[in-house]
């Protein structure tokens, strides 16, 4: 406790009534003149410098290129260039059966592949009017929350490195490794999980999975507390994140932000709670909300979301029902290999599904799920065939990133790195 007080004194004038560090006004540039709420006014008439960051730069979190107009050290304008990782997934999806699209969803937001699989499967099932089984529902909740944990761990680790802290990176990646082991146990893959199928899952969980995940949920909070202890009241961390990249509540809504970015600005909007899917309304969890909308609040929101995900995981493990994982519909679910080889009818269904694919009725469906980055929307338009006419991904980090020029203007160049990190982008999803 005493050690904590010392760390705190370095960082801020003290704690407020709620025990949080008091915010120090950021004085960048040294003069303090023209400093309005942490933002600096560019001096008119002075020479501006143009610098290029990326696309191959470790602090841009992927192949993002930023062209920055600088007045001294102050960012006057920031122009992001995206598209270096554009793979044409949406176009490719129009040439594939619904189940064949699921491997593509792994590769969009590759830091939370399982959640993307779930988002696509839910949209396809809504389009086809399929109700999944109770066990599948709980397994998908587990998949989503595991993804949230690993995605936030990557965010925490890399952002801490951007701001000069190496230790939390190692702790966070160790935890991520444990989830990856579980994912590998379940799906055989660590990154490209492709865990869902339309109407069910690729496979049921193996025997040791529940024990492994339960052990994880018991030990994971300890790491979170350690990260909290190292960062939350750390002088450097607080100084470099508080009052940096502030978006007000109105600005956050107007920029269509979602996920932790939106909640850090004080908007309590979480699709798990406000538009429940997968029976999320029956789980007991809190939606953490920030109040200042700066990088520090985004950190606090994400850290608390890890605790909440852990709670949801524990509840999901406790209620995991027995029973089938896939719906009982031979038009949608492949028969087992042994049945396909021994039963004529099963073989016909197998053949028709593999050759023709699962047909969807004419119509369209939109499902938004709360991904670690924000609202991942999947919009499908069907003309009655086995391939969608249009598969649209509503990419949360693409839309969150579009607010970067607004957030960065008036800050120091070094703050731009912190702000960019706080958006939590993954270029696979930004560029698709």
């Amino acid at each position: 406790m005493s050690k904590r007080t010392v760390e705190l004194e370095l960082a801020t004038p003290g704690l407020d009534a709620q025990g949080r560090p008091v915010r120090v006004p950021l004085t960048a540039g040294g003069t303090g003149e023209g400093d309005v709420a942490g933002r600096l006014e560019a001096q008119p008439g002075s020479e501006h410098m143009l610098i290029n960051i990326g696309p191959q730069h470790p602090a841009t979190h992927g192949v993002l290129r930023l062209v920055v107009e600088l007045d001294g050290e102050v960012v006057v304008r920031c122009i992001p260039h995206v598209g270096y990782l554009h793979s044409g997934f949406e176009k490719l999806g129009e040439y594939r059966h619904y189940n064949q699209i699921i491997p593509l969803t792994d590769r969009t937001d590759y830091l939370s592949p399982m959640a993307n699989n779930v988002g696509f499967a839910l949209a396809a099932e809504r389009l086809m009017g399929i109700a999944i089984t109770p066990r599948c529902t709980v397994l998908r909740v587990i998949a989503c929350e595991m993804s949230r944990v690993i995605s936030h761990m990557v965010w925490l680790g890399t952002t801490a490195i951007d701001l000069g802290a190496f230790t939390p990176f190692l702790w966070a990646f160790q935890e991520r490794e444990r989830i990856y082991d579980l994912q590998e146990m379940w799906t055989g893959a660590r990154l490209t999980t492709s865990v869902t199928r339309v109407g069910g899952m690729m496979a049921d969980i193996p025997d040791a999975f529940v024990t492994g995940l339960r052990h994880f949920t018991e030990t994971f909070p300890k790491t979170l507390y350690e990260i909290d202890r190292v960062l939350t009241r750390n002088a450097v961390w607080v100084g470099r994140t508080q009052n940096v990249g502030v978006l007000t509540r109105e600005e956050a809504i107007n920029h269509s932000l979602s996920g932790p970015m939106l909640r850090a600005s004080g908007v309590a909007y979480d699709l798990r709670r406000d538009k429940p899917y997968l029976d999320y309304e029956t789980y007991d969890f809190d939606v953490p909300v920030g109040e200042h909308g700066d990088v520090y609040d985004r950190y606090l929101v994400r850290l608390e979301e890890c605790h909440q995900s852990n709670r949801i995981l524990q509840q999901a493990l406790a209620r995991l029902p027995d029973g089938p994982v896939n719906v009982d519909d031979p038009r949608v679910i492949l028969p087992s290999k042994s049945r396909a080889m021994s039963d004529m009818e099963a073989m016909i269904y197998h053949f028709k599904q593999v050759m023709e694919g699962v047909k969807a009725p004419v119509g369209e469906a939109y499902v938004g799920i709360e991904n670690p980055k924000g609202e991942l929307g999947t919009y499908l338009v069907s003309d009655g065939s086995a391939k969608p006419v249009r598969w649209r991904i509503r990419p949360p980090s693409f839309i969150n990133l579009s607010s970067l020029p607004k957030m960065a203007a008036g800050h120091l160049l070094s703050d731009l790195i912190a702000i960019n990190a706080s958006v939590d982008i993954v270029m696979g999803e930004v560029d698709r």
Partner: protein
């Protein structure tokens, strides 16, 4: 059905087309393109409706394969931009322009976003765009290899820095040709 639909019909009359309720309970309203901006502004600003959050902007090309209906190509694909209402529409509209060639009138900075600025093969998500692209693989490779490494900044970016005027004339010329060198069918 969402109560805003009746209010919209009462206010805008014929500008509002079909209104449907999807299976998941979402209300879908079709709006003619001329009235779009007015309807959107009304939805955002009217008390009791206040749609202040834009989730997504996208486009779909519908094509009836059996009847082979050819849409008139000369019809201008343009709608009003809603960036003035929701700042989040900025990149979303740029993406729709990039992928479908839909022009958004009044967009402050409408240029390609996922494809590069001098991309000359067309609009990738249109149905008449082949999956492999319009140019042959050899031509794509040739252009990639012939890309001008000096043209890392667009003209606009150079003009911000006001460095463009001081560049040598041959470099200016190369920059005008763009990042990927000269595109064979563009001029």
């Amino acid at each position: 059905m969402n109560p805003s639909v009746d209010a919209l019909r009462a206010t805008f009359g014929n500008a509002i087309g079909r209104a449907l309720v999807a299976r998941d309970g979402e209300t879908i309203v079709t709006v003619g393109r001329d009235g779009l901006l007015g309807v959107m502004r009304w939805l955002r600003d009217t008390a009791g409706h206040s749609y202040d959050y834009l989730v997504d902007v996208t486009a779909v090309e519908y094509r009836d394969a059996e009847r082979k209906v050819e849409l008139p190509k000369e019809q201008e694909l343009a709608v009003d931009s809603v960036v003035g209402l929701w700042a989040g529409a900025d990149w979303l509209e740029r993406e729709v322009y990039d992928m479908f060639g839909v022009t958004f009138r009044g967009h402050p900075d409408l240029r390609r976003i996922l494809m590069w600025e001098t991309y000359a093969e067309g609009y990738p998500l249109r149905k008449d765009f082949p999956l492999r692209g319009r140019f042959s693989r050899a031509e794509q490779v040739r252009q990639a290899l012939g890309a001008n490494p000096e043209a890392h900044y667009s003209m606009e970016e150079l003009s911000i820095a006001e460095a463009f005027a001081e560049l040598p004339e041959d470099m200016k010329q190369r920059l005008r040709q763009g990042e990927r060198g000269k595109i064979p069918f563009s001029e």
